[in-house]
């Protein structure tokens, strides 16, 4: 008990250790409860052909990414060149979920706008953005009111979900994909799921 005076010092180091670890965490990244759960099914209009729909089960048998984007989303612009490069290298199929294209844009006032008009405007805006910046997606679907986004637990754009061959969500990337996160996290997981499947 001679080293009793060391106790406060040790307590301090313990606390400092916890705080230092806390500094490395990002409080904006809320862990998703959907990991390893079946991805919520949806059936939404396609941007290339709004008369036809795309359903989640159509990607069954493939390991793929669901990338949530919108033309008003600034961070999407940042990750987009990487998505285009991924598409060119045929790394992994990416389906785009266009999230609240019109009503998510703070610069637009869409109160009282009819759903048909809003959908038409969303298609026009999304197509324009894809032709300006390149279209890396297998296809993109329209989530006009953000309901599917809520089902996926989306709380910010961009977000990217890694979905396995059985339609389960295996990983969620919050924020823009960076070359580092692609090489070190996403692609290793894709390879692993492909080997397993």
């Amino acid at each position: 008990m001679k080293a009793k005076f060391l106790v406060p010092l040790l307590l301090f180091f313990g606390l400092a250790g916890f705080l230092a670890f806390g500094l490395t965490l990002n409080p904006r990244e809320v862990p998703s409860p959907l990991i390893d759960k079946p991805a919520p099914n949806f059936k939404l209009a396609r941007i290339d052909d709004p008369a036809s729909t795309f359903a989640l089960e159509e990607m069954r048998g493939q390991v793929w990414l669901l990338n949530v984007w919108a033309s008003w989303c600034v961070a999407c612009r940042q990750e987009h060149p990487l998505l285009v490069r991924m598409a060119r290298q045929k790394l992994v199929p990416v389906v785009g979920l266009n999230y609240k294209e019109v009503r998510g844009d703070g610069a637009l006032n869409v109160r009282g706008m009819a759903l048909e008009a809003e959908t038409a405007l969303a298609v026009e805006r999304a197509r324009g953005w894809l032709s300006d910046h390149g279209d890396p997606y297998v296809l993109s679907v329209l989530d006009v009111d953000g309901r599917v986004g809520i089902d996926f637990g989306v709380y910010g754009v961009p977000e990217t979900f890694l979905i396995d061959a059985e339609g389960r969500i295996r990983y969620k990337h919050i924020g823009p994909i960076t070359p580092d996160s692609l090489q070190q996290v996403i692609m290793p997981k894709v390879e692993e799921l492909r080997r397993a499947g």
């Binding site: 809320v30 862990p31 409860p33 009503r103 998510g104 953000g146 809520i150 996926f152 637990g153």
Partner: protein, 187 residues
């Protein structure tokens, strides 16, 4: 003198307990003010359920759900687009007759426990809920042990033997001279 040593920390404990008891009451005005703030921002929100009871339920539930964008606001207080969407979801689902628990489960399934302002009591949150009580009672127990030990130590050392007592009495009465080896002598 000996009594004093014991009483003072006891007083501190009592004070700490009083403070702890006063805390919930102190928190109430704060809660009331956030409720007022929430009502103010609800004025800005376009949709309100026609049934006042339903709207009251929506408001009550919205105050318990965290906005994932702002993180330090409930979805009732926040005007972030997602908060508006989630409020609409809460309203729509309550209106369709689902219970409050159903709506909470719906949101927890999508956004996790993070969406709850009050974390649920389960294995992983046991320390969170029990920690304060553990600290309070652990600290109080430790203090009591320390004080007991100290008072028994004082009893052992401060007690005077019979000869010491007579000598002290003689010294006080001026009938004896202080011994020269006394540490207090100023020779």
């Amino acid at each position: 003198m000996q009594v004093d040593v014991v009483v003072k920390p006891l007083r501190t404990i009592a004070l700490a307990m009083l403070l702890a008891a006063a805390l919930p009451t102190a928190a109430q005005p704060a809660a009331a003010s956030t409720a007022a703030q929430g009502a103010a921002s609800a004025d800005l929100a376009p949709t309100v359920a026609p049934d006042p009871q339903l709207e009251a339920d929506v408001q009550e539930l919205s105050h318990k759900l965290r906005c994932l964008v702002c993180q330090n606001q409930s979805i009732a207080e926040s005007n972030a687009p997602l908060a508006v969407d989630l409020r609409d979801q809460v309203r729509e689902q309550l209106a369709s007759g689902r219970s409050k628990e159903d709506v909470v489960d719906y949101l927890v399934a999508r956004y996790g426990d993070f969406v709850l302002y009050e974390p649920p009591l389960k294995g992983a949150t046991l320390l969170l809920w029990g920690g304060p009580a553990l600290l309070l009672f652990g600290g109080a127990g430790w203090l009591v042990l320390r004080l007991r030990r100290r008072s028994s130590e004082l009893d052992a050392t401060a007690g005077l033997s019979a000869t010491e007592r007579t000598r002290a009495r003689e010294l006080l009465a001026g009938r004896a001279q202080p011994s020269s080896e006394s540490p207090e002598s100023r020779s």
